[in-house]
Amino acid sequence: MPPTDHELMHRCREDASSFDHLVERWQPPVQRAIARLLGPTADVDDLSQEVFLRIYGARHRYQPRAAFSTWLYRIVLNVSRDAHRRRWRQRVPLVDEPWVETEDPHAAAQLSELRSGVSRALARLRPRHREVIVLRHFTDLTFSEIAEALDQPESTVKSRLRVALEKLHHELSRQGFAPQELEE
């Protein structure tokens, strides 16, 4: 059975290879979250490195009070906010969405266009709204964990997410995308 995150954090106080396991395990989701929060600029590499440096620096102070992921994403948010402040005049770059491989090229083109549109709309939201959407849709955190990561009550997180989704829908409509209404 693989060691838990808490165990790895505890071990990496003495053994650097445990930290390597932790990085290996968490680097892809961390990069994914940062890329969605800030856009997949070259900084994604450096910022995820900064996240893990902060974690390594805090290894002696780490207390497994809550889920490791909650603590990790709180650091991701802090690093992303710092980066956002550093380049606050710049627009969040757009994400080049991967091409979709399907048998129908027309459907593939439509799908890719929609994904790029959603990505663009997401990038245009205010950081607080983007954060709550990214934490809900691009990580495995529950509402209570998101609340803890954001240091907000769960009810605030939910009402913020509602506003964020409405704004995202508005942005999508403004760009000429009307997301297909799903069957209920």
Binding site: Q27, V44, E97, F143, R162, L165, E166, H169
Partner: protein, 191 residues
């Protein structure tokens, strides 16, 4: 249930976390209220679009490869800050190694017991030292580049000044010659 009662329920409804009783009440209200029906459809559609994007998002959005520290061009302020930090670090190291007990007491906190550094700590220190050396080399290169650039600018500036000075001298000579000619002409006229 009226429209304002639905506000705190939408997100749980959207993500399937609403208890059955409240869900039934909300659905009953939606059946009667076109505004809330539209709100629900908007939320579902937006969630669907996000799910689509999340499903297509690669595990990592950046190119694969080992993480690395990339050298960057430093501005003069950045260099100054790093040099100050290195200076502070060197001073601390110097204080630490001085045999003077009084200074050592100032620089080193009261240790509870002497400890042998572990192999991991030594490796960590070695790596940091290598990073510092690399940083030092980068800085030395950067300072050299700045010096060269400054020297080039100085040379260009002097050359431009010398050129301007020469132009001015020539113009003064011409003015002087013109004045002399005018003066001569004036003299001839009066005579």
């Amino acid at each position: 249930m009226n429209c304002s009662d639905t506000d705190p329920l939408w997100i749980d409804w959207l993500y399937g976390e609403l208890p059955a009783e409240e869900r039934a009440a909300l659905e009953a209200h939606r059946a009667e209220c076109s505004r809330c029906r539209a709100a629900g459809r908007r939320l579902l559609a937006t969630r669907g679009a996000l799910d689509e994007l999340a499903a297509s998002t690669p595990r990592s959005l950046v190119r694969p490869g080992p993480t690395r520290v990339r050298p960057r061009r430093r501005t003069a302020a950045g260099i100054a800050a790093v040099l100050l930090a290195l200076g502070g670090w060197s001073l601390a190291a110097w204080l630490w190694q001085r045999p003077d007990d009084a200074l050592r007491k100032v620089a080193r906190p009261q240790a509870t017991a002497p400890r042998e550094p572990s192999a991991a700590a030594l490796a960590d220190l070695t790596e940091r030292l290598q990073s510092l050396e690399e940083m030092n080399q980068l800085l030395a290169g950067e300072i050299e580049r700045l010096d060269e650039s400054q020297a080039r600018r100085d040379t260009d500036w002097h050359r431009a000044l010398a050129g301007q000075s020469s132009d001015l001298s020539k113009r003064l000579d011409r003015i002087d010659r013109n004045l002399q000619a005018l003066f001569q002409a004036e003299l001839e006229t009066t005579q």
